[in-house]
Each structure stands twice: as C-alpha cells, then as structure tokens.
C-alpha cells in the first residue's frame, strides 16, 4: 500500500445550535489521500465532503464541534494543533482552491499584487522578485499576456481566468504538498471546465502534488482521478480506485449516484 500524505481517521463532529444542542453532521469519516495521486471526494449537498476538507485546514465553521477522530498530515495530527501552528501548515503545505474564484480574491487589489503578497508571506523576497514570480505563475497556468493581466483587478477576469489565477496562487505560489480543490469548476462553462481540469491534472503530474478534488460531478472524476471516496449524509460509503467505482460499484448509493449522473448513457445501454 502506497504512502498516504493525509489520513482522516474516524472523524466525527456536530453543529452546536444557539441552545447548545448538538446535531451530528460527520460520522466516523475515514479516508486516505495517497501521495502523488489525485483523489476525488464525491457527494451531494450535505454529504459533509466540504466540511471534512475545511477541517483539514482548520477552517470549519465556529459552530462545528469535533467529537472524535484525528486528521494526520504526514503523521502529524492537525486537529490538536494551536492556531499558530496550523497557520504554518495552511497555504505553505496544504492549500485550497474554492468554487467561486472571483469571490475568493480581494476585489480592491490587483491579481498580481495578491499573488505577490502571498509569495512574500511564504517565501520572503523583495517586492520586485515576488511580482516576477506572480507573473511567472500566471504564465504557467496559460493566462495570455500575464504582465498585463497581473495589473488587472479580479472583476476584469472572466470566471475561468480567475480560477486559473487561483490555481496559480494555491499551487505555484504557495508550493504546497497537498492541494485541495472544492468544486473548482462548478459554475464554469463546459469548455472552460475541460481546460481547468486539464490544468489541474497537468500540475498534479508535473509538480509532484497530491490533489484532492471535492466534487458532485462524476463525469469530471472519471476522466481525471485515481482514487474515489463516496460520501453521503456525513459518512464515507465507499472508497476505491476510480476504475473500481465506475466499473464495479459496491455501495447501493454509489450505484444510484452513478445511474443519476449517466441519465443518457444508462438508457443507451439498456436499448
């Protein structure tokens, strides 16, 4: 069995209401992210897939209470770290890309300066050198005219371009070992989605990254991922290689999700 860079072990938690009642939301979640592989965490709304990922970075909502379990990153338990310690991990070793890239950026700073600031924070360099790195990162995610683009503000970027810039920030500026992408292509057009996914695969293969893709879209998973974790209602239902999930799904929910995603294909097969 290959090495896992991250291991979520028996992680459970609940939301605490204003009256102090606990509503269980994650139950005994366990999965491993193999080093160098691309793993998909798949599930529908409310499955707990994003909440688990946010917990990895210590970004879970304040009302969320962990009741048991641990999250091991290279053998180190992240859930017991002090805020100061987790900040050293966040970004530098594990970074995250969110669904809406334009909302994730600060609207009043240029895209280039945001990338450069993060570069200086993590690596410490002159402003000039940081900006050069920012432009280089934008070029590596195939943004045309990166020098000009770096001087623009987020609102001047299309959704697809903004997502490229976020991936440049999370993967190339931060240079993490683990990159978590939460629905990175939801809301983007299919032709743009295909290009963004190609970019993510490219970075994973060529930069020695471990990637975790959180998504509801099994189509994207079939083409890009090595491993799949299926979640529903706060539980992990099935964990297997992507090939096994698509060719021999074991869990009834996985089969249902697959059939629902294939609307047309399943019909064509029946005919």
């Amino acid at each position: 069995m290959s090495e896992a860079i991250l291991e979520v072990r028996n992680y459970s938690g609940a939301f605490r209401s204003a009256t102090g009642d606990l509503t269980p939301i994650l139950e005994d979640v366990s999965y491993r992210l193999k080093t160098g592989a691309m793993t998909a965490v798949v599930g529908e709304t409310g499955s707990g897939k994003s909440l688990t990922a946010l917990s990895v970075l210590g970004l879970q909502p304040a009302t969320f209470v962990r009741t048991s379990g641990e999250i091991l990153f290279k053998g180190r338990n992240l859930v017991t770290l002090e805020e100061r310690e987790i900040r050293a991990v966040r970004g530098a070793q594990i970074s995250m890309v969110f669904q809406d890239a334009r909302a994730a950026m600060n609207p009043v700073f240029t895209v280039g300066s945001q990338l450069a600031d993060v570069y200086r924070l993590h690596h410490g360099s002159s402003k000039r050198e940081a900006m050069a790195k920012a432009i280089d990162a934008l070029r590596r995610v195939y943004i045309p005219e990166p020098e000009r683009r770096a001087r623009q503000y987020p609102h001047e970027f299309s959704g697809g371009m903004a997502q490229r810039a976020m991936i440049a920030l999370a993967a190339l500026i931060c240079q993490p070992q683990l990159l978590i992408l939460d629905e990175p292509t939801t809301g983007l057009d299919v032709t743009i989605q295909a290009e963004i996914m190609e970019l993510i695969v490219d970075l994973t293969k060529n930069s020695g990254l471990t990637t975790c893709l959180i998504t509801h879209d099994l189509g994207v998973v079939a083409e890009t991922c090595d491993e799949v974790v299926v979640m529903n209602s706060g539980r992990v239902l099935e964990t297997a290689s992507a090939e096994a999930i698509f060719t021999a799904p074991q869990n009834p929910y996985t089969r249902k999700l697959l059939a629902a995603s294939q609307l047309v294909q399943s019909e064509a097969e029946a005919a």
């Binding site: 529908e44 709304t45 045309p144 299309s158 959704g159 697809g160 371009m161 057009d189 299919v190 032709t191 743009i192 989605q193 295909a194 996914m197 509801h216 879209d217 099994l218 189509g219 994207v220 998973v221 079939a222 083409e223 992507a242 090939e243 698509f246 060719t247 249902k256 999700l257 697959l258 629902a260 995603s261 294939q262 609307l263 047309v264 294909q265 019909e267």
Partner: protein
C-alpha cells in the same frame, strides 16, 4: 401519439440590442428564429453569454425585443398592449432556475399556487383549492405540502412547486430556464421525469434552456445550439448529438465529461475565450477561435443552411464539405 404538428409559437428573426456606455451596442440576441410545437421540446443550448435566457425573456416580453416577430397561435405578441399581453401569460408560463429565489418566502405553497388561478382565471376559492390539490398530485407532492412555506421544503420539492405554479393555469407553452441547474444529480433525474410525464399528460410545448448537455439529450426533441446571440446549429436531438457539424457544437460536445470509465473523447479545441458581444463585426462569431477558419469567414455572418433532415448549420466551411479537421467518429 396524436400530436398536432403545427407550431403553437413561432419566433422570427428575434434581435435584442442593449445600449452600453459610449454609444456602443451589446448584441445579446442576433436574428434567432424557431418554432415550438405542442407535445415537443426545443432545447436552447449554449454557454454563459450566448443569449439563451434573453431569447426566453423576449418571447414573453419580459425583455422587450429590439426587432423580430413572435406569433402565439397566429397572434403577434409584439404589438400587444400591456393588458392584452398579460392575457397571453396564461398560455405561456415560466419555470426558473433557482426555486429559492423565484418563490416568495412569505407565501405558503397554497398561496403560491392559488395566485395565478385568481389573477388569470378569477377562479373562486373552492375551485382554486380543488385545482391546487390536483396540482400537488400531478407534481408528486401531497396536500400537506400546501400549508408549507418554501424554506420548509427541499430543493427538489421547491422546484416541484415552481412547476405546479407554472402549469396551474393550463398553459400551452412552458419555458424552462435551467430548471435543474441548482439541483443535486439524484434529484435532477426525478424532476426531468416529472417534466416528461407532464408534457405527455398535458401536451405541453417546452422551450428548455440549459447548458447541461446530458439533460438536453435526455429530454429534447430538437436542439438549437447558441453562440454569442445566434443559433449556429439546429436539428433533431439525435442528429445534433450524433453528427454535430458546426465547429462550436463539436467543441461543446467534446468538452462535456462523461461519467463512465475509459470513455475517450476527442477534443475539438477552440482558441482563447468567447469574444465580446459589444459592437460585433459582420462576420462569423467564431472567427479567431475556430480550427476550420477560412478567410471568407470574416467577411459575412454565415446563415443557417440545411444539411440534412431538418438539420441546419451556420458554417460555410462545413456546408461546402471541405472540412480541414476530420470528424471524430
């Protein structure tokens, strides 16, 4: 099936131009024509900015078209005064993408469904209630749901309420603007089945607007592919999906991921990003992105040309038959 095959609604050469700063013009819809037939679904497919939602809004004059004609059963909608126009709304109803935003949070499901019955039909209360109950059955909800508020319902249930409201006044045409885009995949299938079922029972004509190609292939009889305000390819669903001809259609179809192991697709790539709809030149809108581009493409906007059984393409390179890139299959 005994469907009448003449169109209930005809749109001809619809055009919508929005003025933008500096006296420039944003051409959102540029010469779009189509028919809607009872019992049949026409899908408008396209990416963001293609103008598909503007077309839908032009049909009912939620957006006033700049030019063009819309005939509902032979009656021109464009010339109607506001009072007469509101009467046509009984016959053309809409279902919106986000049921959270399109249902009033302060109204119970009963009030939501009763309202159009009163507005359009002046139906007395007991009849409204009887109709409301029948509608709940039709859309797969129960009488108990009538007393609920939208926030008490799941996303799928809310969309069922949106559909119930649309079909309450027995319209001929339902415009579905991305009706499943905000739903989970397992719920998506149920809503599509409901829509197909209602179409059969009520002989509805659907204009189905979507960017989800899988959904479109599942529900549509005909598909019109839009790019930057114009229809670039239109035809029977099987023809458009089976033998896409326009370079944009091929790029779009080949970009859609398939939830199947080992499904290989041959990508047809377009260069760059969608160009600006502001002050577009009189040329094919794909100029600069298209792998089949010829010098003549920049000289005039190609018209839709029939290439097969009711299958038309707006690409002179394809219709001339000398394609530079061989077809994928």
């Amino acid at each position: 099936m005994t469907t009448v095959d003449y169109p209930i609604l005809q749109a001809r050469d619809l055009r919508k131009i929005f003025p933008v700063s500096g006296g420039r013009k944003l051409v959102a819809v540029d010469g779009v024509s189509f028919d809607l037939v009872p019992g049949k679904t026409l899908a408008l497919v396209g990416e963001s900015g293609s103008g598909k939602s503007t077309v839908a809004r032009c049909l009912v004059r939620l957006v006033e078209p700049t030019s063009g004609k819309v005939w509902l059963d032979g009656m021109s909608i464009i010339e109607l005064d506001p009072v007469a126009l509101s009467k046509t709304y009984r016959r053309v109803q809409m279902v919106f993408q986000d049921p959270n935003a399109s249902l009033n949070p302060r109204m119970t499901v009963r009030e939501v469904v009763h309202e159009p019955l009163w507005l359009h039909l002046r139906m007395p209360k007991d009849q409204r209630e009887a109709r409301a109950r029948r509608l709940m059955e039709l859309v797969g909800l129960t009488y108990a749901h009538l007393d609920r508020y939208p926030h008490e319902l799941s996303g799928g249930q809310r969309q069922r309420v949106g559909i119930a409201r649309a079909i309450a006044v027995e319209p001929d045409i339902v415009i579905l603007d991305e009706p499943t885009a905000s739903l989970d995949v397992s719920v998506r299938g149920q809503i599509l089945e409901l829509l197909l079922d209602l179409q059969k029972k009520l002989n509805l004509a659907y204009l189905f607007i979507s960017h989800d190609l899988q959904v479109v292939q599942h529900v549509a009889h005909r598909v019109a592919v839009m790019y930057l305000g114009g229809i670039v390819e239109v035809g029977p669903t099987a023809a458009v999906f089976g033998h896409p001809e326009h370079p944009y259609t091929r790029a779009l179809l080949s970009a859609a991921p398939v939830a199947k192991w080992g499904a290989k697709r041959q990508r047809l790539r377009l260069a760059g990003e969608i160009s600006s709809p502001i002050d577009p030149p009189d040329a094919c809108r794909l100029v600069g992105r298209c792998p089949l581009e010829q010098p003549s493409c920049a000289k005039a906007r190609p018209p839709l040309t029939e290439i097969g059984d009711e299958h038309s393409v707006a690409c002179p390179v394809v219709t001339a038959g000398d394609r530079a890139v061989p077809s994928a299959a």
